[in-house]
Every structure is written in structure tokens, then in C-alpha cells.
């Protein structure tokens, strides 16, 4: 029976492997984005004058010593709560914000010294709806940005046509941007980021405001990008953890401006959630008999009778302990037949919650600071 369990775990790891392989490149792929010890401290304007008048002039640390690489052809997820530093990091990579310390390179070009070169190979789709001209049509907006990216008139028209097809916006091309739905505005932002087919895409919550069908199509599109020739590299920030797990080869967890962990979704789940819940469907014993047999094996066991007459049993165990073996042996000895056995490990949400819990206890004040910075960054001085 132990063999059966090990093969269950192994088969799950194996089933993760092709999925991860389809999302990302080999481990030896060279970094497309390299972030080295990046710290971003937002200076306070007129700090000396504010201190003189005893006003609050404390600086805000939005990113603290952030380091990681995103490999070429990889979909890399960046998850964290509001104010964690995701948007600041994205803007640092996109050359829109300069780091206070540290270095970011995109395909070998430094984001401060070679910013024009970096901008030429990076497409950014932000979550900011205001970044378009609301009185221009969808087509006029994209045409303007296409020309700034250096596309000729003909090439721009062809590319815009392709993107409208891809994002199902063709019928809305002559509609003013301000008249588009929030979801379509979001699609426009991603379409603009792809105008010059950049090798690196920074997507800030790309499926936010999309309906489930459109969101699924967007995810499929993002997956296709990294399978293209040459493959694109995608840095994706999202609050939708299911989406991150589905799309990303690797994920970084950011909290309070610090990278707390980097790994594949499976690695993060495995290293931070060592417990899993087990659900068995049984035939044969009564509810009471099952509870009695399993009570000695798993103190937290819950037993219920399903509408189809089967008995459903739930308990938790440490991954790899002998509790499931013991439960199955005890049930077998009691004459029960196990119809199905499912286990469920923690999700990225559990991992995130764990870090956020630690951050809330440890550096709650730091988070408030970062949120204040990101509010400022997104136009808080209105």
C-alpha cells in the first residue's frame, strides 16, 4: 500500500513536469531579465523643509534588495498583495522608475544606462486604464503608439489588424477608447504592449476585468507567446493565483518590498505546506464503523454519508507519513472497500498567506509605507 501512495506522489510530480516544461524554458536558458539587489526608496520631495517644519518626511522603501532572474522563453509569475511592490518592480524593469540601488538588465541592456534599448524590447501592459487617449478610437490609439515604436504606416496597419483579430476587437476598432468596456480596455493595453512584438512582455494583471471566457483566451494567448519563434519572455503579476499556477513556470512571492521565495508552483507548495488533506470514498462500513476504525489513526477524521450511499472520509496528514497506509490497512481489515482516494496539497494562496501572515507580524509598518508609495505612484497627488 505504501508503494501505491509513493506512486501517487510521484505521478503528481510527473504530471507537474510536462506542464511546467510547456510553460518555460530549460534551466540553462540565459536570463532575459536579471534583477540584482534592487532597492527602491521613494525620496520625499522637499524633505529638509518638511523636517524643519516637523512634518513627516520619512522615506518609503518600496523594494528591498530584490534579486531574481527571468529566463528567456519563461512565464514568470510575481504574486503579492496590494502594495507589496509588484507594480514598482514592473516599472523599474520598464525604465519608468529608476532603482535607488542595484541593477536591472533586460536581454543584456542596463535599464538605466541603455533605457532606449530596453524600452525597444519590452512591452508593458499596465493596469492603468487612463494610459490611452479616451477621445481617440481604438485604432487611432494603437496607430499612434505603433508609430512611436517605429513601425511604418503599412506595417502598423497590418500589425494592428492582426492584434484586433487576436483580441477580438475588430468590430470595436472605430469605437472611441472611452466607450469601450473595462475588459476591452484591458485587452487594448495588452495589444499595445505587443505592437512591436517585443521579446519581453510585462503583464500587470492581464486578465483583470475580463469575463471567464475572455480570461481563458487571454491565458491561452500568453501560453502561445512563449511557444512562438522566437519565444517571448513574460513577467506576469496577478492576484489570480489559479492563473499563476496554470501559466507560470516559476513564481516569486513578494511581500513588504522583499522577495520571500522563488520556485516552481509545485516547489513552493511543497516547501511551505507539508500537510495535505486526504479524502476517501468507502463502501461497506457504516458511518459509525468507519469513524471508529479511523479514529485511532487520524484524530481529526470527519466521516459523512454521501447521497449515493458511499461513506466519505476526510483527514489531514503530514506529506509522506504513514497515516494513509495505516488508515487503508485498518479499513481493509474492517472489510471496507476503498472506491476512491484523493489528496489535496496547499495552493499558492496558502504559501502567500503564510508569508503575508509573517509580514503582518514582522513589518506591518513597512507595508503601509509601500502602499503609500504605490498610491503616490499611481497618481495619488490628484
Amino acid at each position: 500500500m505504501a508503494l501505491t501512495l509513493e506512486s501517487t506522489d510521484a505521478s503528481r510530480r510527473e504530471s507537474d513536469a510536462p506542464a511546467a516544461a510547456s510553460r518555460g524554458p530549460a534551466h540553462d536558458a540565459r536570463p532575459a531579465i536579471s534583477i540584482q539587489n534592487v532597492t527602491k526608496i521613494y525620496p520625499v520631495p522637499l524633505a529638509r523643509a518638511k523636517r524643519f517644519f516637523r512634518m513627516d518626511a520619512s522615506e518609503v522603501t518600496a523594494l528591498a534588495d530584490v534579486s531574481f532572474d527571468v529566463r528567456e522563453g519563461e512565464i514568470f509569475g510575481l504574486i503579492g498583495r496590494n502594495g507589496a511592490g509588484k507594480t514598482t518592480l514592473t516599472k523599474v524593469i520598464a525604465t519608468l522608475v529608476q532603482p535607488t540601488r542595484g541593477r536591472v538588465t533586460v536581454l543584456g541592456s542596463d535599464s538605466v544606462r541603455d533605457e532606449e534599448r530596453v524600452r525597444a524590447c519590452v512591452g508593458l501592459a499596465g493596469a492603468e486604464e487612463r494610459s490611452f487617449y479616451w477621445r481617440l478610437t481604438a485604432e487611432q490609439n494603437l496607430m499612434f503608439f505603433a508609430r512611436l515604436y517605429g513601425l511604418s504606416g503599412r506595417a502598423a496597419r497590418r500589425r494592428i489588424g492582426e492584434l484586433f483579430e487576436q483580441f477580438e476587437l475588430t468590430e470595436l476598432r472605430r469605437r472611441r477608447f472611452g466607450e469601450l468596456s473595462t475588459g476591452n480596455k484591458q485587452r487594448m493595453a495588452v495589444a499595445r504592449a505587443m505592437l512591436n512584438a517585443p521579446p519581453v512582455l510585462l503583464l500587470d494583471e492581464p486578465t483583470r476585468s475580463l469575463d471567464p471566457v475572455a480570461a481563458a483566451r487571454m491565458r491561452a494567448l500568453i501560453s502561445e507567446l512563449v511557444r512562438g519563434t522566437p519565444p517571448a519572455t513574460v513577467l506576469l503579476t496577478s492576484h489570480n493565483l489559479t492563473e499563476v499556477e496554470e501559466l507560470c513556470a516559476r513564481v516569486a512571492i513578494i511581500s513588504g518590498g522583499r522577495i520571500r521565495d522563488v520556485g516552481t508552483p509545485a516547489e513552493l507548495r511543497a516547501s511551505h505546506r507539508q500537510r495535505e488533506s486526504v479524502r476517501l470514498s468507502l463502501r461497506g462500513p457504516t458511518r459509525e464503523e468507519a469513524a471508529r476504525v479511523l479514529g485511532g489513526v487520524a484524530p481529526d477524521v470527519e466521516v459523512e454519508r454521501a447521497p449515493d450511499g458511499e461513506i466519505e472520509v476526510r483527514f489531514t496528514r503530514e506529506v509522506g507519513d504513514g497515516r494513509l497506509d495505516e488508515a487503508l490497512r485498518a479499513l481493509h481489515a474492517a472489510g471496507a472497500r476503498v472506491v476512491s482516494c484523493e489528496t489535496e496539497r496547499g495552493t499558492l494562496l496558502d504559501v502567500l498567506e503564510r508569508y503575508e501572515g509573517a509580514a503582518d507580524e514582522g513589518d506591518g509598518a513597512a507595508r503601509e509605507g509601500v502602499e503609500a508609495a504605490e498610491t503616490r505612484e499611481t497618481g495619488g497627488r490628484v
Partner: protein, 276 residues
């Protein structure tokens, strides 16, 4: 597209965009034409007060309507040079589009030229309308070297544009509260001799007013254009205002580009590009 062709293509992209935006407010476009007609007509009727028995030692002001209609459109042009970039930056910040534009591989000099391009197209059209209405409706006839007048127009506009770039740097960093807008923007109409001879400032207002008037490049620009178009002066007679303007340009243009690059870097450091 080759690098050489990218500058005109990008400038053209801005012009097309701004035309499309302006065209989406059609009524404003036609009301502006109407307002130019009204201003020209008003200036003409005010000038009729002095039509009989007006004697003045200021040669350029013997026909006040001619003096005004020479200065107003050119001042309009100079002020476009001064304010268009700061206005473009503020407008992009208000709309939230500045980051979108700065995300593209566009360099700063291109942005400066391109963002102001439509305003110059519009200012050229409006200035032409002033002169056209004055010629067609009120019989104004300019005589002089138009190429020389054009040289004054270009040099003065470039000087004002340099100050405008510094003004845009204020907009980039401080968002609002630009002292240059007060001094150059509103001060030019008062101190540059647009509506009355600038010499009156020192005689009636004292040497400080005279000094302010002398320091403003618009004073030299308007004086030069009037000397050419009203008095019919040639290059040798307008050397002084022209050299003054060229000196201003040689100092201010590189300085303003340096200041603007620093302002953009500072806004990126502070993460305040889209704030307004």
C-alpha cells in the same frame, strides 16, 4: 524603419494624434477662428480712436493697428514656443498617458519636438488668420523683407522654446506652480511692447521696468519684426536685436535640454511621472 526617418515619422504621429484630438472638439476649433476675427476687429476699431491727429515720436506706432496686428500673432507664436511643451507634459500627466509614451523607444529631443509640433501647426494657422483678416478686411499691407521677419520669428520662437523646456521641467518635477509661466508668460504682453511702445516703460515706469523689458527675449523679437515689416529695415539695421536673440539661444538651448533630462530622471527616481 531607418533611424533617420524615425524622427519625422514620430513627429508626424504626434501631429496626427493631436489633430484627431482637436478634431474631436470641432466646435472649439470654429469658435477659436471666430474669436480671432473678433480680436482683429476690436483692435481695428480701437485704432480708429487715433485715426485723426495722432502724432507720436515712436515710428513703429504711427499706425497703432499695424503695430498691434504685427505683435499679437507673433507673440501668439512665441508663447506657443514657450508653453507648448509644458502644456503637453501636463496634458499627458492629466490623461495618464505620459508613461505610455515614455514606454516607447522615443528619446528626449524627439519627445520635445514632437509634443509641441501640433501647437506650432495651430499657432501658424492662427497667426496666419490674424494677418489674413487684417489684410482682407482692414486693408493692412506689410512691406519689408519677409525672410528676415521669418528669421526673427524662428530665432525668437527657439529662445522661447528653450525657456519653455525649463518650464516643462518644472511641470515634470513640481507639477504646478511654474514661476517662469508668470514671468515670461504673463509678463511678455506687459513688458514686450505688444500693446504700447516698450520705451514708455522706462520713461513712465522707471529703470527697473525698462530692465525687465530689455531682458525679455520677446521684446527683441517683436521689435525686430516691427522694424522689418513696418519700418522696412534691412539686416544691418536689425543686427542688435538679432544678435541679442542669438546669444540668448546659444546659452538657453543647451542649458534647457540639460535641465529637462535631469527633471525626467528625477521624476523617474521619485516615481512621479504620471502624477499631476
Amino acid at each position: 524603419m531607418s533611424q533617420r526617418l524615425q524622427l519625422p515619422a514620430r513627429v508626424w504621429a504626434f501631429v496626427v494624434r493631436d489633430f484627431q484630438l482637436a478634431f474631436s472638439y470641432r466646435l472649439e476649433f470654429f469658435l477659436r477662428i471666430l474669436s480671432i476675427l473678433f480680436i482683429t476687429t476690436t483692435l481695428f476699431f480701437i485704432s480708429q480712436i487715433f485715426a485723426s491727429g495722432f502724432d507720436t515720436p515712436f515710428e513703429q506706432w504711427r499706425n497703432p493697428f499695424l503695430a498691434w496686428i504685427t505683435a499679437v500673432p507673433f507673440l501668439n507664436y512665441f508663447m506657443t514656443g514657450f508653453s507648448s511643451l509644458a502644456e503637453a507634459i501636463r496634458s499627458e500627466q492629466r490623461q495618464g498617458t505620459l508613461e505610455g509614451v515614455l514606454m516607447t523607444p522615443i528619446n528626449l529631443p524627439t519627445l520635445i519636438v514632437a509634443a509641441s509640433a501640433w501647437d506650432f501647426v495651430l499657432a501658424t494657422f492662427h497667426s496666419f488668420l490674424y494677418l489674413f483678416f487684417a489684410w482682407a478686411l482692414f486693408g493692412v499691407d506689410f512691406r519689408g523683407n519677409f525672410l528676415l521677419a521669418m528669421l526673427f520669428l524662428v530665432v525668437t520662437t527657439l529662445v522661447l522654446a528653450s525657456i519653455g523646456i525649463i518650464s516643462a521641467s518644472f511641470a515634470m518635477v513640481f507639477k504646478r506652480g511654474d514661476p517662469l509661466a508668470l514671468i515670461v508668460g504673463t509678463g511678455s504682453a506687459l513688458f514686450s511692447g505688444v500693446f504700447f511702445p516698450s520705451q514708455l516703460l522706462s520713461t513712465a515706469g522707471g529703470s527697473v521696468f525698462g530692465l525687465i523689458s530689455y531682458l525679455l527675449p520677446t521684446t527683441h523679437g517683436i521689435d525686430g519684426i516691427r522694424r522689418v515689416l513696418i519700418q522696412g529695415h534691412g539686416l544691418s539695421e536689425v543686427r542688435e536685436p538679432l544678435v541679442t536673440l542669438v546669444v540668448y539661444l546659444a546659452v538657453l538651448l543647451p542649458f534647457s535640454l540639460w535641465v529637462f533630462a535631469r527633471a525626467v530622471r528625477r521624476a523617474k527616481r521619485e516615481g512621479s511621472l504620471i502624477q499631476y
